[in-house]
């Protein structure tokens, strides 16, 4: 398929300008194993590349609808404040089970999902609260679900890991690492079969890349030309195991080339970079019915879940990544582009805080599901 090969090459070249993927070199160690060089993880490199694209980004941002930019920042702040509230009420015993927080990764969900049409489909793993809200689920219905209440988006049957909404084309919320990559591939299959014009955003963490379903899915998606955008949220850790302790070849974007699939490496702390890369992938999916793999590098500030002791990394490491906090970077960009003022930032913070308080009030007051719900929804 010469056409595919050409387009892959072009995209890879672009990724080199945008991210560090193309600069990665593989070194073969004396013992015969190959590994990435350390620069791939280098924060300084990410900063330099960010600085290099800043001027053009500031120019292009002025061409984007101000309302959309404001909404993007609002959703990022809302996601942050919502997750902070989850941590708070989890510690108070209001939320049971697992609870995986998205703090630090907001630019990925907002940058990518806000480039979609409402009818497009989204599926993700268990770190799903923010994706659910960006897709249109109310903070009330998400928090009530976390509380295990009747007003939750799935009536208290799913909890933290299983947010769903047919109305908003949000296909979950899945708890088996990598499982949703295959299901998302099937969503794309249906979109193509029915010629609906929908595209699928399929999110997963970098640790899921080591599962067979990742490779099986990419193979089928490229073979059958499915409109699926695979977004690998590389937050460096699969639970407490760092990527370098778990993956022989750490350059995830390039793994797509094993399947002839277009791919890009994206700075996941830069919401506009995520948006631009996703728009390119959406164009490819919608107009050519071809898939893309985006490796979006961010950093998980919190533990894997609320029960994570965090003894596998240092506070200093976390602090270094927090210097490039996605909300701070985006605020700074919007300010530099004279899109939003400090006063408007304050207003966004107030609105987000009020939305979270409304969600808490709703969740607190929503009743527990009736016990008659136990045996419903097992079969149609």
């Amino acid at each position: 398929m010469p056409k595919t090969a050409t387009s892959t090459k072009k995209v890879s070249a672009k990724a080199g300008l945008n991210g560090s993927a193309a600069k990665t070199t593989q070194s073969v160690k004396a013992n015969g194993s190959s590994a990435d060089d350390g620069s791939y993880f280098d924060l300084e490199l990410a900063k330099a590349e960010y600085a290099a694209r800043r001027d053009s980004q500031l120019r292009s941002i002025k061409t984007i609808d101000k309302k959309l930019l404001r909404e993007m920042l609002y959703q990022m702040v809302l996601g942050r404040r919502f997750e902070e509230k989850c941590a708070e009420v989890y510690r108070m015993g209001k939320i049971g089970g697992f609870c995986h927080l998205y703090i630090g990764q907001e630019a990925i969900a907002i940058g990518s999902m806000m480039a979609l049409e409402p009818s497009d489909m989204v599926i993700t793993a268990y770190r799903d609260h923010v994706q659910a809200m960006v897709k249109g689920l109310s903070p009330e219905s998400v928090l009530a679900e976390l509380y295990g209440k009747e007003g939750g988006c799935v009536k208290g049957k799913g909890g933290s890991m299983h947010m769903f909404s047919q109305e908003h084309q949000f296909y979950g919320g899945h708890g088996i690492v990598g499982g949703q990559i295959g299901v998302g591939t099937g969503l794309g299959y249906a979109a193509k079969y029915k010629a609906t014009g929908q595209v699928v955003l399929c999110f997963f963490g970098e640790a899921a890349v080591n599962q067979g379903i990742f490779h099986e899915s990419l193979n089928m998606a490229q073979l059958w030309k499915l409109p699926v955008i695979y977004i690998c949220e590389n937050n460096h850790y699969g639970m407490g195991t760092s990527q370098e302790r778990a993956m022989s070849i750490r350059n995830i974007a390039k793994k797509a080339e094993s399947y002839g699939m277009a791919n890009e490496f994206v700075d996941g702390m830069d919401v506009m970079a995520v948006r631009e890369a996703t728009l390119r992938a959406i164009d490819r999916a919608r107009n050519e019915s071809m898939p893309t793999l985006l490796e979006v590098r961010a950093y998980r500030y919190m533990g894997h879940s609320m029960s994570d002791p965090g003894n596998y990394r240092t506070r200093d490491e976390i602090a270094r990544y927090q210097e490039r906090d996605p909300i701070l970077l985006f605020k700074d960009t919007l300010k530099a582009a004279k899109v939003l003022s400090d006063k408007e930032f304050d207003k966004i913070e107030q609105e987000a805080a009020a939305a979270v308080e409304r969600a808490v009030e709703f969740a607190e007051n929503s009743p527990y599901p009736s016990e008659s719900e136990l045996l419903t929804d097992v079969l149609v």
Binding site: M121, I123, G152, C153, V154, K155, G156, K157, G158, H162, F164, S165, Q166, Y171, G172, G173, H174, G175, I176, G179, I181, G182, V183, G184, T185, G186, L187, G188, Y189, A190, A191, Y193, K194, G212, I213, E216, S217, N219, M220, L223, T376, D377, V378, L379, V380
Partner: protein, 327 residues
């Protein structure tokens, strides 16, 4: 009525449902150009083309997942496993995804999908290709489990399964694909899921059999009738889940004796479940302890004599009936 093999009855069911509903498609290994590893999909690709009959790579977990996602988005996939043994690679998608989706989405996302293919032993295909998995899949809420034993049942139940809005595990038997039987004409012939069928009426002992053990039980019944003048009733549940326990209990209340013949291993089997349910519902009607005939608690051996020794047989069923009838 037409006389068809089970293979051709299944083929008719697929063809009619593909014609009936544009959202139905068949996907699996070798289902299209090769005409199906066991020829169940013979001719369908030539008739309907790439969109409706889809060859996959050897990627069971992957194409099961594609089916689950496609079903969530409104299609009605029929996913063929070349044998159910290979479904174990895909069991994450069947059990963790298909079976759970409706419940964990609070009733929002149904998964109308059929997983089908041959289950149980074949002809000396040894340990990894001879397993009967009905007890495994029947253990998970959210799945229906169907096991036809005749051509008519195969057609009617497969059509019902494809029209069902739940994930259905449809278990065929390779040894039985060539068995012939009468099949009612007309593309509106369906058999509802969850209804047992009394394959032979009798008064003295009930045999509950399914899939491959149904013809064995019928042969055993004839021999017992001739030799001992004992009248055996053969009940075929046809759907394992939901199980038509009423029909089974009704038969036991009449005959007061029960033998269960099954191709799966006996530990934690469907037979064990039926034994419990009959004990719970009809304890006072039993005149003898329930007996089971199952596959030996061993991986399937290759050697012909050992394979035969591992599997249920007419002789083993006769022996069990004699036991419960104190003959």
């Amino acid at each position: 009525m037409a006389v068809l093999t089970i293979r051709d009855a299944l083929n008719e069911a697929l063809r009619e449902e593909i014609l009936r509903d544009e959202n139905v498609f068949v996907m699996g290994e070798e289902v299209a150009e090769y005409d199906g590893a066991y020829k169940v999909t013979r001719g369908l690709w030539k008739e309907f083309g790439d969109k409706r009959v889809v060859d996959t790579p050897i990627t069971e977990l992957g194409f099961a997942a594609v089916g689950v996602g496609a079903a969530m988005a409104g299609l009605r996939p029929v996913i063929e496993f070349m044998t159910w043994n290979f479904s174990i690679l895909a069991s994450d998608q069947i059990i963790n995804h298909a079976a759970k989706m409706l419940y964990m989405s609070g009733g929002q996302f149904k998964v109308p999908i059929v997983f089908r293919g041959p289950n149980g032993s074949a002809f000396q295909v040894s340990s990894q290709h001879s397993q009967a998995l009905e007890a495994f899949y029947a253990n998970f809420p959210g799945l229906k489990v169907v096991m036809p034993s005749t051509a008519a049942d195969a057609k009617g139940l497969l059509k019902s399964s494809i029209r069902d809005d739940n994930p259905v595990i449809f278990l065929e038997q390779e040894r039985m694909y060539g068995l012939k039987g009468e099949v009612p004409e007309g593309d509106d012939f369906i058999i509802p899921l969850g209804l047992a069928d009394i394959k032979r009426e009798g008064t003295d002992c009930t045999i509950v059999a399914r899939s491959m053990t149904v013809p064995l039980a019928l042969q055993a019944a004839e021999k017992i009738q001739a030799e001992f003048d004992v009248s055996v009733e053969v009940v075929d549940p046809r759907t394992i889940k939901p199980l038509d326990i009423d029909t089974i209990v009704g038969s036991v209340q009449k005959t007061n004796r029960l033998v269960i013949a099954e191709e799966s291993h006996e530990f934690a089997s469907v037979g064990a479940e039926i034994t419990y349910q009959v004990m719970d519902r009809a304890f006072d009607h039993l005149d003898a302890p329930i007996k089971r005939v199952s596959t030996a608690e061993t991986p399937m051996p290759y050697a012909k004599n050992l394979e035969a020794a591992a599997l249920p047989s007419v002789e083993k069923i006769i022996a069990a009936v004699k036991d419960v009838c104190y003959l």
